[in-house]
Symmetry: C2
Subunit: 339 residues, 2 copies
């Protein structure tokens, strides 16, 4: 059995999306157990009339609600009875709970996870690893993308190892091609951080390091893992999402500007739907936190039930493949570095 | 008269594109003088049969050719008779020459400009400022985007002042809205560099600082200038260009996948052409180097003649508006900082 706690009161679509995802996940994975964190009466009400295996579903009553604009530190300190913080505490204290999924505030979740949940042995800094679709139908993981704005070369090496094992174990990518985000392809490009990291990554036998990547090649399909400091990784991921969304919006607006375009677009309706699906990050699951001693998956705030289901699947697969154990096994070979 | 030296042997489209742009520029701007740098017999041959005011065209014979993969330092040291280096030397030595345009190697051009051409008074670090189109038909300048991978808050303040004056004087943007690239909107987001820069920018009366910008909002039209360190600014610009190009490529491929889509696309042919034009950075000119004592404009390596013409126009307008003088006037008010 794999037991996952689901923070049901995080995202924009409220407990409805989470409860729906929970029911779907239980039927999809026979050895999955779920703990729903949140206002129990509300959750029970939402479950009424739904069919599921009640023996694999528990509740963690958490009546407090976190507001949109609350500071992460305030959430941790003052909202101890919120669905997110109670879920984190359960994850920390209950050995039978393996993972947590939340679509709540990123800042609060990261802060709570980093201070309440320990790190894997040898890991200096846990890091975020979201996934984007590439143009040849593959996926690329970007690590870090926001948990650490300041990093060292050794951090970057650890991000590379973690994300590489993640892509291999959760998405079945063989020998993931790992690249370092840089301002040019040549080994000597970038600042001292990038130059030292390049050397360190080249020397790391456990990863398939293929060199520097320029940001314009992110979606090319030539890379499976991109390693970055949390600041530029964040810029990389959000610029990609933002540009894609803005372009689709513009296309839509332009289509409505002329009658003949509307006819053309009607003939291409399915194609446009496919493009929209393709660029919809909801279809690719959440951003996982790599390096914590227990699995934490952060879904996008706007996640609907299918996106939450993807997040549960990610957490489930990370635990099933013993990703944490595999990361520790590689990292401990390098434990002579700055620990 | 405004005299500009054009490095004719830089880009992928060779001297043909540059010569064509030169002829067009001379007819567009009656008080423009051009110096064509490159292999003079080749340039003269390309000009045969073209109509232009020969009294405003000079040649700077430069027979040496720079290879694609040459290191910037080698170019400066060993290719003293190349079109780029001779143009830089002319710009440095000849008081009558106000500006330079090149579509050659960015690394070599920046290195040569920074070492051969002085800086404006008070400027610590010149910076690159490319332009991207926004979704409401406007433009946004991103400064820095690659010249300085490591920066201080004071550098960022200078980038803000320079880019703000650039958008105002060259593109006529009134009170340009200046934002700081960051991982979140709140003032306390990001590392120490970003937090200190936020404060410094807020205190700078000469700019219209509107706060932090998340990278997904770059094309929103809510900002006229985005200030960034050269590393993340580079990621921001290249990710935007890369995502747009990849998406358009995907659209094209998908259109050809079904007969009915081809019919739909035929009805929308003009629209798709417009979208392609819209996202084609060639239509928005080059990346200007702000802060050097003379104007340097770097066009994209793939620039065709229309793109080179845009670059000449940018250089011309920067000189015409005395952008350098205006930058010095503001910067000198802050010259008590780390100079």
């Amino acid at each position: 059995m794999i037991k996952i706690v689901l923070d049901c009161f995080g995202g924009d679509h409220g407990p409805e999306a989470n409860v729906e995802a929970a029911v779907a996940a239980l039927s999809l994975f026979p050895d999955l157990q779920l703990v729903l964190s949140g206002d129990e009466p509300v959750l029970r009400k939402l479950l009424e009339g739904k069919e599921y295996d009640g023996g694999r579903l528990e509740f963690l009553h958490a009546p407090q609600v976190i507001g949109c604009d609350e500071r992460p530190t305030d959430v941790i300190r003052l909202k101890r009875d919120s669905s997110m913080i109670k879920a984190i505490r359960l994850l920390r204290d209950d050995d039978s709970v393996a993972a947590m999924v939340s679509t709540g505030s990123t800042g609060a979740l990261v802060a709570a996870a980093l201070t309440r949940i320990g790190r894997l042995q040898g890991i200096i800094r846990p890091a975020f690893c979201p996934i984007l679709p590439t143009m040849n139908g593959g996926l690329v993981g970007i690590c870090d993308s926001g948990a650490n704005v300041e990093v060292t070369p050794e951090h970057l090496r650890q991000f590379a190892v973690m994300a590489s094992l993640y892509m291999e174990n959760v998405y079945g990518v063989q020998k993931p091609r790992v690249a370092l985000l840089n301002v040019g392809k040549e080994a000597e490009k970038g600042d001292e951080l990038r130059q030292t990291a390049y050397k360190l990554l080249s020397e790391t036998a456990e990863i398939n390091f293929v060199g520097n990547m320029e940001s314009r090649d992110l979606l090319s399909g030539n890379y499976d893992v991109v390693v970055a400091d949390g600041f530029s990784g964040n810029v990389l991921v959000k610029t990609t999402e933002g540009t894609a969304l803005e372009l689709l919006k513009k296309l839509k607006k332009d289509i409505y500007s002329k009658f003949i375009y509307k006819i053309g677009a009607a003939l291409m309706a399915k194609m446009f739907r496919d493009e929209k699906d393709f660029m919809n990050y909801q279809n690719y699951g959440g951003s996982v936190l790599l390096g914590t001693s227990k699995v934490v998956v952060k879904g996008h705030g706007s996640s609907k039930s299918t996106a939450v289901l993807k997040c549960i699947e990610q957490a489930y697969k990370m635990q099933l493949s013993d990703l944490g154990g595999k990361i520790e096994e590689v990292i401990c070979r390098y434990d002579h570095y700055e620990l």
